[in-house]
Amino acid sequence: MNRPSAPRVLLMGSLSLCVAVTLGACSASNENNTPKTTPSSGGGSTAPALSGTLNGAGSTAQQSAIEAWTAAFQTANTGVTINYDPVGSGGGVDELLSGAVQFAGSDAYLTSDQIKQAKQKCGSDPIQVPVYVSPIAVAYNLPGVTKLNLSPDTLAQIFAGKITTWNDKAIAGENPGVKLPSTTITPVHRSDSSGTTFNFTDYLSQAAGSAWKYPASEDWPLKSGEGADGTSGVVAAVQAGNGTIGYADASQAKALSQALITVGSAHVAPSAAAASKVLDQSTFVDPSSTTNLSMKVNRTTTSSGTYPIILISYQMFCQKQSSQSTASLIKAFEAYAVSSGGQAAAAKQAGSAPLTAAIIAKATKAINTVTAG
């Protein structure tokens, strides 16, 4: 029951940090210039400017991406320690709002209520930037069937328990020439609250129309189907059963057959490139805001080569930091995370989809507004 205790903000290094500020600024000024962002983000190596400890907590989805960022960032800036406690999105936001950590990772952007609380805590607007985008694969286990097309409508009916056998007319119609067995379908969902479930149900509620009548939610809305704990639990359950189908982060579901999702008239497999393309078609929730970069994913896109079942995970932190050292540190770290270099590192380690240049530019601008106060 005891909540994982937040790592204490022990101390920020006592070194003076004027150099760090200029560094952070220079990393930010590189915005779109992709090749130069990497060296500048790790630029601490040229001048030992950054030091101290940065504590974060939240989303488990981001964990391996953050590991990649932390490793690269700490190598470049030897005086820096970055701790990340993957307590889950809700827990991370709670800890940010209580002041226990300097940044939170969350698969859901802050609600207006939470923004209000954060404003009180920070004394300024909270900044939220997307840092991690990943396609969610629909994985299945059906011996003999290696290629499967599913339209959003059929997908919704399968997960709602309306379509119960694999040789149902709806599935057969979308898969001409595929020999489907009469096996019973066992849809597998997450039994824990998760951002993956939120994004999957968000997709179904928008793309499947009347076949899915539940709102997007972090908890599975139905009382049917099979529940499994965590991404690995879903993968294990899908693997173990015959005729199972589930949803999981694409990079974690490589061992399974992944269904092609009907987008427009094409059938698209989950891939980082196709996931990035959806970002181009998505809009910001509050387009005029310079600090709130939460995104409204375009789930109903029909343009070719896009894969709309994606998860966007954010990092949020105060615009006004308690000390200059923390401000410089968080600026440099976040700038690196959203830079094309950081995104490439995450893609390599976590199989995520890189942010688009336009989002990187806007995020860098937002990160750059962090000040000490």
Binding site: G88, D94, V188, D192, S193, A228
Partner: protein, 314 residues
């Protein structure tokens, strides 16, 4: 402590200091348990209270607290009962074998191995349950549905992954086996030798002597062993969270993939992504579990105490 100070003179000063020290340590250790328990109870009540006053729509599921906790309580008790039904005969058998049938060396080894089961972390039981036991149970569940489907327990549809509440019950049964087996074994070994020999002298077979002499003597011990096992099964978290496919429903169907969740596993599954009132609700379910476990342990103690004649366990 002040009284001892006045009673005893300075003659025994060296021993007195050691005495006082030891007594102080022992007392504070005992007191610490009470303080901890009170601390947990206060925390659960205080933090869980907002859940009881929250409006229906604020509770996860939107149906109010009772309909949220109800299925969880049901699932907790169902899983623990299944575990008890499976483990009690098994642990009595194992304990009897160790205490009365096995050659001494084998008995020692077996006792050691059973105790070793208790040292296996529950998360390992969880992995074992997911990857080994569950797939193996699939054909059995299919058979149960086909042949005993008329019973409400086996109506199915049988799970194709085997991650059902019956599987969870089996895993729990194995987890509580060590505690109930070692308790039973201790009780059986304390049966007065004369009683057993008297039975044998009257012409009873080995089995009859056990039935006539050992069981009546050990009855309260067996019950309390089962109850202590039940207490552990009620609170077990990780293994259940990993093995069980949950839907927060109330059903006696033991072999389908739609199962009720247990309180402890639900907290583990829901807590990481919960915030606000949802956390209070989880803590309130923890309070309910605390009360259930407390009652079970209380009953176990009472049963042991009331048949004080056996005096076996205490």
């Amino acid at each position: 402590m002040t009284t001892t100070h006045t009673e005893r003179g300075s003659r025994h000063a060296p021993r007195r200091i050691g005495d006082r020290l030891f007594r102080g340590v022992a007392t504070s250790a005992g007191g610490l348990i009470l303080v901890t328990l009170a601390g947990v109870a206060i925390f659960l009540t205080y933090e869980g209270f907002p859940a009881f006053t929250a409006s229906r729509s604020q509770i996860p599921g939107g149906q109010g607290l009772a309909s949220y906790i109800g299925p969880l309580v049901f699932g907790t008790i169902l899983a623990a009962t299944l575990a008890l039904v499976i483990s009690t005969p098994l642990s009595v058998g194992v304990a009897l074998f160790i205490s009365h049938y096995a050659p001494r060396r084998l008995a020692w080894l077996l006792g050691y191995l059973v105790d070793l089961l208790a040292a296996v972390p529950s998360v390992v039981y969880g992995l074992w349950g997911i990857f080994l036991l569950s797939p193996k149970m699939v054909p059995i569940y299919a058979w149960l549905q086909a042949h005993l489907g008329f019973l409400p327990f086996f109506t199915g549809p049988a799970s194709v992954t085997g991650r059902t509440i019956l599987t969870a019950g089996i895993v729990l049964a194995i987890m509580i086996l060590p505690i109930s087996t070692s308790l039973c074994r201790e009780v059986f070994l304390q049966t007065p030798r004369l009683h057993e020999e008297a039975a044998l002298a009257l012409g009873a077979t080995r089995w009859e002597s056990i039935r006539l002499a050992v069981f009546p003597y050990a009855r309260s011990g067996i019950v309390s062993a089962a109850m202590l096992g039940l207490g552990r099964a009620l609170g077990e978290t990780m293994a259940v969270a990993m093995v069980l496919s949950v839907s927060n429903v109330v059903t006696f169907n033991l072999i389908s993939s739609v199962n009720p969740n247990t309180i402890a596993a639900n907290i583990a599954l829901s807590f990481p992504d919960s915030s606000g009132i949802a956390v209070n609700v989880l803590i309130a379910t923890g309070l309910v579990l605390f009360v259930i476990t407390f009652v079970v342990n209380f009953i176990a103690r009472a049963l042991v105490g009331s048949k004080g004649s056996s005096g076996a366990v205490t």
